[in-house]
Symmetry: D2
Subunit: 359 residues, 4 copies
């Protein structure tokens, strides 16, 4: 079950970076949802690499196909299977890493957990797998859209260079999904400078959901904040998660941090749209911190599968800043969480059961 995410609206994925295909089964989608295939493909296009020199030059077509669960353009309530065939399954680029463990990668731990070294580009641990998440997330987004929930994201920090203000409309057309046009060039320069030095940089993504009703989140061990933290921390290279003001809250006094309540709503949103792990009707705000890409083109110390010291020198093509494409993945994960919480919230009041039961 560890390859299934969610409880009611679930995604189960399969596939390795250099296998024949990857994809997902999305289960729990309510019947009667219009499935816009062009939209799903457009989401995958936002994530796919090679759109600029800020990303890996690797070409992945990421053409998605739906194989089940829809009928005449609508969901039927049965599992929706989506598949992306890998055009290029050659493992050639990875021959030099066959017997050794790339520093900062999961090679070492997969080998120790499973006793097998699938050396083909990270296998299952490759960020290529996030294509399946984006496909599943796009179904969740379609469901949420019909309920007037929208999710946006962008980069608020690259290599320590921080955005002053967030412009999510700008981020949509920015090559690096930058939230602040004023620092965008500096952020871009930092990425390219690191790339030229065969190095990589980290970044921070802000993800926001608007239109979320009050009441989403299942206490005590399926709280909205806890599951968003799980969802985001599980993305490749994520190392820290903040809800609302997050770390900044730590230095505030209670009198500063509490959001006042008025008949017209909250006077501020330090909380990031939730209290006690349940949405309060305000915007859901999550920050995800991505470490610098571990794939760098400098010689590094490592060992091989026989635990002998080796020098590792990377070949191939890699993102100098994984946070950029990670931005799209955070939206997918937030959508999956909110779709799941929406379904789980359906049976919380007896009155709702009475309303729906015999319809």
């Amino acid at each position: 079950m560890s390859n299934t995410f969610g409880k009611a609206f679930t995604m189960t994925t399969f596939g390795e970076s250099h296998g024949k295909a990857l994809g997902c089964i999305v289960d729990g989608v309510p019947a009667g949802l219009e499935i816009d295939e062009a939209y799903i493909q457009s989401e995958l296009n936002r994530r796919k690499p090679g759109k600029s020199k800020l990303e890996t030059a690797r070409k992945e077509d990421d053409k998605v196909e739906i194989l089940s669960g829809t009928f005449e353009g609508f969901s039927t309530g049965t599992p929706i299977m989506m598949i992306i065939f890998n055009g290029n399954q050659k493992s050639r680029d990875y021959d030099n890493v066959k017997d050794l463990f790339r520093p900062g990668h999961a090679d070492f731990t997969y080998f120790h957990k499973y006793g097998i070294r699938d050396y083909r580009g990270g296998g299952r641990s490759s960020a290529r797998e996030t294509a399946a998440r984006v496909a599943a997330g796009s179904i969740a987004k379609l469901m949420l859209k019909t309920l007037d929930v929208e999710i946006v994201s962008g980069l608020c920090e690259v290599d320590g260079i921080k955005a002053d203000a967030y412009d999510f409309e700008h981020a949509k057309t920015s090559l690096l999904y930058a939230l602040d046009p004023k620092v965008e060039e500096a952020q871009k320069d930092a990425i390219l400078a690191a790339k030229n030095k065969h190095d990589s940089v980290g970044g921070v993504v802000v993800t926001v959901a608007t239109g979320v009703p009050k009441g989403l989140g299942e206490p005590l061990y399926y709280k909205l904040d806890a599951i968003l933290a799980e969802a985001m921390m599980g993305i490749n290279a994520a190392k820290a998660i903040e809800i609302g003001d997050g770390i900044a809250s730590t230095s505030l006094k209670g009198s500063q941090n509490n959001d006042g309540i008025t008949p017209d709503g909250f006077t501020s949103n330090h909380s990031g749209g939730m209290l006690g792990g349940i949405s309060n009707g305000d915007d859901i705000v999550v920050k995800t911190h991505f470490k610098p890409t571990p794939s760098i083109f400098q010689a590094q110390d490592t060992v091989n599968t026989s635990n002998e010291a080796m020098k590792f020198e990377l070949k191939g093509r890699h993102d100098p800043c994984v946070a950029i494409r990670g931005s799209v993945v955070t939206e997918a994960m937030m959508a999956l969480v909110l779709a799941d919480m929406t379904l789980l919230n359906m049976g919380k009041k007896m009155q709702h059961l009475k309303d729906i039961y015999k319809k």
Copy 2:
């Protein structure tokens, strides 16, 4: 199922802050584990309030009793039920909050989710519930101890005052579980200063597990880092989670952040003891950021259940810094996660099945 935590080693809890009792059922504990009841009680004593003027003056006895699942001092493989009866169930202190929502608390969201206002001290959303987590976590700790895993914690930051070095031995006897004796007095003063101004402060807890073997964590959607993030973010007042260097990683270059690998182990532990969501044999390091206690003794804007504007003035007794007692809860949550991951890891290699199957 939202009141159950874990997949194989699970905790299911019940109880409200001012109900008759609270407690937990721990399921999945392997048979043959020695259950040291004095140890369990000692863990609860570490969490219980009133140990110093840095904490709420409220008295809670927190006497725990085991009602099932053990026989002659050992676990039997059946569910272990532990109960803590609430000595004082009077709701008197909370009469003034009966119809309104306390800012920064879950009152507002529980009301909107469930349609009911259980005004007795936060009901289920009260941090009092973490007593049940500590009880369950102490069973997990006992199991991990027999496998040579130890978990420690302490405060590295209070009201913005940061520790320079971490001394987990010192933290054990510090009234505020402070990690750095050099800043401990300043941290203590900050807490008391806020308390005197009827305010509260935030804090940051570091939690570390040592002796963890390689291989714990279930990719892709039950990764060790993701589930630790979920576990910690689900604690009352937690607002941000870092794994290893966390946020600091964001400003590093890949060449600085990657942990080199040698035949004798890793050359550094920026990663916090995991790669690809699987433990790498190094120390597991997690930071949990707690917001300042929302319960403050200043007048605040709020509304009542009829959405009319009200002024709220708190009565009662409250912790000026929830991070202190939160420290003990982070250990319990980490223990529950590691115990769960340990059981889930038992069937990952065919050879292990062959070794165990017919024993």
Copy 3:
């Protein structure tokens, strides 16, 4: 998690037959359900032993207490914990079985699974545990009643003596919950005859739910029939389960077995109220076959924990026909399944989400 039943409306139980207490946590109960404690106790009274000489003479008070999850007589949406303290925890009656395995009981398999012999009256495997199921089931029944679903049961067969017709009203007041007054005396005589010969008899229970709407059941691996089969087969001593005409269907032709459909409903109910694992609006009908009580007062061959041949002679007090009290347990299990399916069915149509989402 193996001590949790259900997915959305769940019961987690604890307790051994001769431990301090047993009970359950019921999670997922919608908020706003009136919790009639007298009704819950009345259900437990129907199950408790010693009501006639057809049952064990053992006295169990089975006084149930609710410790959480309700407020002013209504469910709050938080876990409902119910506990039954065991009045008499003396293990005296079982001293003669301490080192050996009672034939037909779970002693042998628990010992091999867990490596521990908790000899106190079967420990966790004792049918005494079904008291917790009945308590949880009574909450499910209360929820279903508000939705106009009723569940009844009775014995249609004892020691091979079969009922010709089913009178569920009669069963309610019959000492053996007999469905057919015409064969009731013969059934009673069979039980007493076996009891006098220090033997035991089997029996068959029919359980029926009326008022169930169309649409309950989650294909493909949480079908209504499959989960009812699981629920019933999991009751102590159950050995066969039939849905609708069950085994009789096997000898019919398709033209005889298909239920015709008319604008006013089905022309027959061979199917037992479901098609493709989803309820069709007709009565849900399940038969549960109970083996004769394994506890008999004749010498039997067995081994001890050192695998040495022994003769076993039972002491104590036991039901000569477990099907009688099993009848009450089947109702509880059916109620739990239907309550669970009701909640799971809440998010199946997009229109329902739109109707409820922002309420």
Copy 4:
């Protein structure tokens, strides 16, 4: 999650009878299992239709392909995805059923549950989906074989004609998987006679696992018998399940039904290889009763989606006795249950944890 079966060794399936493809993701397979693709295909060939005139004449190629989870012929611990493309997706044969509900089929209930009539041959509810179960089950069988567990099956009854003795070797080569060569011709004649009258017959399958160790099954709500009952009852057209002697136990006395225990094992196997829901080391024996195929070529009463009375006359090609091919499916389901129970049993004794933990 309702399209996922199992807890530790899981199968998640997708696909409709007339969609583009169907298949499954098998998760939890231990790493290092040799994956014999020819064996998997041979299992699918045993299930596929058209092998004799006792089955539907419909041609389904059922060519299975593995798209992930294996490396150099062995499982890697990552999800194994298997796909079967539907050669012929034409819905032509079903045009006459487009607006109405076929009696005895799930059309009626799917429509009421989901509000959609996917009329293409039953869509998701078609028995065609069992091909995915057989594919997943074949992986489970491969795992169990390495642990010396074998599963066999055959028909013990067709149209009321019962086998006297069970010859599982004979069943393997019998066109109808008949267990008793003495009644095989009579059973065959009954099937063909019904077919000629445009009718169908029921049948009963016996499924047996040998070599199962003591200790499989997770009390109290994931018992081996309960989950086998769920697994089998969930197969299309199943209406009754027996464990061991099942219904026959009901008429026995306790003194007859108890299996005596000796140092060399049990003196009989009335129990079907389990006590208290845990395997006892003896053969696991389950009977599954299949109703006659609802698809018959006689005019039947039904309604359409507007609830108007209609006569329905079937076209197309259908099995006159679904129990035949159902036999192969019971083996797959039993294998999935036993594989799941094997993994779940890995962490039941502290000693096992100590043995495996740091390996």
